[in-house]
Homo-oligomer: 151 residues x 2
């Protein structure tokens, strides 16, 4: 090992020592994205509570003001969707992760052929499992003020 | 340098070679968060287009369906806010970054004493400057189905 390589190696060790969680965090965040995408598809497209529940942790704190708290609230919401909007399709357009959070930007169409809603969901994960949910939902307007679309 | 330290150093180099952008990305993402927080405050609380414009890049692609495209659209929106809702306060509750994107979860109150809106804004940045914007806006309902609040 040359002197230069030694210096590079020591610099690399120093950097990793200063930011020990970087690589581990990146891996966990990628895993969290995959878990949320699978959870989302199971809940909103497959409308299968049992399949979705595999991604839940020991709680599901609900901030959507239209849904009851907890896993039971999610179960009720999926049953409502299956009954009233069996053709609902929720398509993830963008997915982000930062720390324990995963954020999805979604186009949700309850009835095929309608404009549908723009949605952002925020999920908190613990140990790779979904434990908390916030969202914001807005109907896509007929006549937007620009031609860029909402996605 | 011992044999074990050599092995550790080589492992560290291999990891950094595999993930060369990790530390640089983390720094850029923190800088992006600061830029978006300052941009947001200048535009929506100070309602000062010139102050906000310092954070804009060479374009401002607008996906909010109520606002015209480009920096001029932002200028018009700030003028509208200043005229109709001079007391508007937009409070960032959470801020996230992933790659070139910064996401903020916001409680916006146009008239003091009203419940206001839950908003998620997504900004794309290039070279630390804001170049694109999406958002989703939902009025906070009077009677939510759970007691957790929208934030």
């Amino acid at each position: 090992m040359s002197r230069n390589m030694l210096i590079a190696a020591l610099a690399a060790i120093a950097l990793l020592a200063a930011r020990p969680g970087l690589a581990a965090d990146a891996k966990q965040m990628e895993d969290n994205k995959k878990a949320v995408a699978a959870f989302y598809d199971a809940a909103l497209n497959q409308k299968d509570f049992d399949a979705a529940a595999k991604y839940l942790g020991n709680r599901y704190t609900q901030h959507n003001p239209g849904a009851a708290d907890g896993p039971e609230g999610l179960k009720g919401f999926i049953a409502f969707l299956k009954d009233k909007f069996p053709n609902n399709r929720s398509e993830i357009k963008r997915i982000f992760a930062d720390g324990d959070y995963v954020i999805v930007h979604v186009h949700a169409v309850r009835e095929p052929g309608t404009r549908g809603n723009a949605i952002v969901d925020i999920f908190k994960l613990e140990n790779g499992k979904v434990v908390e949910h916030w969202d914001v939902v807005q109907p896509i307007p007929e006549k937007p003020a620009n031609n860029n679309g909402m996605f």
